[in-house]
Amino acid sequence: MTNAHETAGVVIEDLNLSFGETHVLKGVDLSIKQGEFFAFLGPSGSGKSTLLRAIAGFGPTPTGRILIQGNDIADLPPWERDVGMVFQSYALWPHMTVRKNVSFGLEERKVSKAQINERVEKALDMVGLMDLADRRPSQLSGGQQQRIALARTIVIEPKVLLLDEPLSNLDANLRIQMRRDIRELQQKLKLTTIFVTHDQEEANTTSDRMAVLDQGVIQQVGAPIELYDKPANLFVAKFLGTANIIKGSVITDESSLVFRTDRGMDIPLNQGYSHGRSIVFRPQNVDVCAAGTGVGEAHSKLNGKVEHMEFLGSIIRYGVDVNGDIVLVDHAHKRGESIFQVGDSVDLLIDRESILVLAA
């Protein structure tokens, strides 16, 4: 146990936290590797920001342990924790120049004047805003403020960098640029980083691993692709992209494995377990073709009627009524190809390998 802690950047053990009567974090256990870029992903109210603030020492006092490089910091006040946090709205001090903002943390650490100047220059250089050192925060654009907030935090060389929805106040184009820059900076500094977001695209593109939170409980931890392809439960499946979820039960006999939906349809499976209560598959793993098409072993076939159709540019998304369940199908759009109309009878071919059986 102790060995693992020494190599881990951040370890959280059985963390519980309440706002008055409301239990916000429920027994959170987590281990983040040294130098890892880790995302907390969840809808609003899931407790992700609360968890981040608990690591920084803000908000109600939690029970449990928070270890950073092996040391329990749960009892330390915020100013002794050495975790740098970038706030959602940047929290730059309006009465100080950019340079003053960035040197603040070093001044509080009683670093020598010469050292401060050198490190501030380096930090500002790293975010590319050397020329703005003598401006006030109010004279900067949102993106520039974001960079200054980042510089102000990394200049103290914290043990962990905490980012609280850092991109949410930027416009769409800047967001993409900024998330690349943050990732690049993190790689350069090899800084253990925790990134809070409600946007799965942000989490997917930046992080090595992520934790999906809902209602104060960690639902699943893993690499983005792993979570997308192998969601541990319905919440993760739904939260990470669009998913078709059909309720029913698994029926096994000696020769075959079949999922019988609550509406009485049979869908052959390749793998599964007897107590499975629902199947999940993504729209892009289903193909749609005219009724009566033959089917091989690799696919399960369902027959239905087109209920609605949305043209999304690169794909056409069909909603197909299969015996009362609406199944979403993404069909790659190619020019000249014929398009099914609402009311057409169609066959759906589901890639059997991609069908996931879940207990709930």
């Binding site: 006092t61 006040p77 100013w79 740098g84 706030f87 929290a91 001090w93 949102g142 103290i156």
Partner: protein, 570 residues
């Protein structure tokens, strides 16, 4: 874990307890003392209401009580008559004189009413300029300044801005959609006014009127200077200063004054509570305004100019008096001179230096206390922290006379070590009285300032290694500085002309501040000139102070606008 919390909270807790002790010693105990004595039999010390029975048996006190009530009520009526057309003009018409009216709302407040009282007598008294002219050209006079009329006249000219400001705010907060939807549903003209505009504007008016009532009801300086002694506050002062602090009548009057203060504040708060009729919606704004026809415009300007002349008359009279040689039975002084100013600067500079010292110290203590209270209340979770706010604000409900009597009673037997003198007659007690009385103003200013500081800015500092104390010093106080400075200036300017508590606490001439000096000079006919000169100096103090605090607030609002853009995006 709990140990950690307590060490973080220890600093604020100590500060909170010290402030609580200060408020207890210099506000709660003296006022409590006054109330206890009022309900005590003077000889046996038993609890009784006999003092109140005695009070109402005495015809002089009954008359004083009635007069105070009458003067305060009539002042509300006159102040309303002055305010209503002004508020109406600015909110209903596209009227060029709006800026003029806004100025009208500030001018009276920069001069305490007692300062102008004597000058008003010379302008409007039975042998004053106006009546001399009226008599000469029209053969009649108007008793503006006869007895209670004088008090009502001076007070309503001074306090009408409270009604004007509140009423204008209430009217301009009514969205035009309110009016349009009523019209759309068939209401029009007077019915529309009675059923929609009037009810929506009512809370603002009542709040302003209650303030005017209580300010007039409590005022000591104006009746004293106009030599009207048959009112409650002057009676309390005269009883204590002539018979002494053992006479129960001063205390009975104090309890009545406090009772009415509380009642008025309650009415004012009740009027506004839950009726925050800010109906202005996005893109809307104010009632429908219409253009004036030219003859209407003339009429409006005539009314505004008339009121402006009335409002400026104390200032104008004071200036004339301070530069005039002899001014009696004449429209204007016989000749002009600067000798009164020379007199003031050669013999009465101690009033000015005392005032600078006292008001400066009081304002300094006020902002220190107010900043600390604001921080403890809004940034810690200490048990009972709200009571600091309530306690400091409660000073609003305590008239100066009551503070004065309470201090005399409580501290006359408390000797100050080293200087061997009772605390009640040491000059520092004047500073403390000013501090307590002006603390609510500084507190509101500081509370507004701290509410504008995002907690996140403090968390960012703590995150980067600053302790709570360092965060307060480097982030909170600098960001609050506009509000703190505005609080200082307001406290200073208003403390500089504080009379009602000061007049009782001045133990010797050399300790007296400006307001007391003006009062002393104005007592004799020969002293009026120098008294007026001192008055002009006082007006300059307050005027410059008010303007400075206005500038500071404007500036920090602007600075805030640029920063709040960042904060709002959350």
């Amino acid at each position: 874990m709990s140990l950690q919390i307590s060490s973080v909270q220890r600093g604020p807790a100590v500060v909170g307890i010290l402030i609580a002790l200060f408020l207890l010693t210099f506000l709660v105990v003296p006022v409590g003392q006054v109330i206890v004595v009022a309900f005590q039999d003077p000889s046996t010390g038993e609890a009784t209401i006999i003092n109140f029975v005695d009070f109402f048996r005495n015809s002089l006190f009954r008359e004083s009580f009635f007069n105070s009530f009458y003067v305060a009520s009539m002042s509300v009526v006159i102040a309303s008559i002055i305010s209503m057309p002004l508020a109406y003009f600015t909110t209903r018409f596209n009227f060029g004189g709006t800026a003029l009216i806004q100025t009208l709302g500030i001018i009276p407040l920069i001069m305490p009413p007692f300062v102008g009282a004597v000058a008003m007598q010379l302008l409007f008294g039975s042998n004053g300029s106006v009546n001399l002219l009226l008599d000469e050209y029209f053969g009649f006079t108007i008793p503006f300044m006869e007895g209670l009329n004088g008090v009502i006249f001076v007070e309503s000219i001074h306090y009408f801005p409270f009604i004007l400001i509140n009423l204008s705010a209430a009217l301009s907060n009514i969205d035009r959609s309110m009016e349009e939807s009523a019209q759309n549903l068939g209401a029009n003209g007077l019915r529309l006014f009675r059923r929609i505009v009037f009810p929506l504007a009512m809370p603002g008016y009542v709040a302003g009127a209650a303030l005017v009532f209580i300010k007039v009801f409590d005022d000591l300086g104006t009746p004293l200077l106009l030599n009207v002694n048959t009112m409650l506050a002057p009676q309390a002062y005269l009883r204590v200063s002539s018979i002494g602090i053992s006479d129960p009548m001063g205390y009975v009057i104090s309890v009545i004054l406090v009772g009415f203060s509380l009642l008025s504040l309650w009415v004012s708060l009740r009027a506004l509570k839950g009726k925050d009729y800010a109906t202005v919606q996005k893109g809307g704004g104010g009632l429908m305004k219409r253009d004036l026809r030219s003859w209407e415009k003339v009429g409006c300007y005539a009314v505004v100019v008339l009121i402006l002349m009335l409002v400026l008359s104390p200032h104008f009279g004071l200036l004339l008096l301070s530069f005039g040689t002899i001014w009696s039975y004449a429209v204007l002084p016989d000749a002009f001179t600067i000798s009164h100013y020379i007199t003031v600067f050669s013999t009465a500079t101690q009033y000015i230096t005392n005032t600078l010292l006292y008001a400066g110290l009081a304002a300094l203590f006020d902002v220190i206390l107010a900043t600390a209270i604001a921080y403890v209340v809004w940034r810690t979770d200490l048990v009972g922290r709200k009571w600091l706010d309530y306690g400091a604000t409660a000073a609003l409900a305590v008239p100066g006379v009551v503070i004065g009597i309470g201090y005399l009673r409580t501290f006359h037997s408390v000797d100050v070590p080293l200087i061997d003198q009772p605390l009640a007659s040491w000059w520092v007690i004047i500073v403390i009285a000013m501090t307590i009385r002006r603390l609510p103003y500084a507190l509101r200013s500081c509370v507004a300032a701290i509410q504008q500081v995002s907690v996140m800015l403090e968390e960012a500092a703590e995150n980067l290694g600053a302790t709570k104390a360092r965060t307060v010093w480097r982030i909170v106080i600098p960001l609050m500085s506009g509000g703190i400075l505005a609080g200082f200036v307001t406290s200073f300017a208003t403390a500089a002309v504080e009379l009602s508590a000061t007049i009782m606490l001045v133990a010797k001439e050399t300790d007296a501040p400006l307001a007391y000096g003006i009062y002393e000079f104005m007592q004799s006919a020969a002293g009026r000139g120098p008294g007026a000169a001192l008055g002009v100096i006082a007006v300059l103090f307050v005027g410059i102070g008010t303007y400075a605090s206005h500038l500071i607030i404007e500036r920090s609002n602007k600075a805030r606008e640029s920063t709040s853009i960042v904060a709002e995006e959350t």
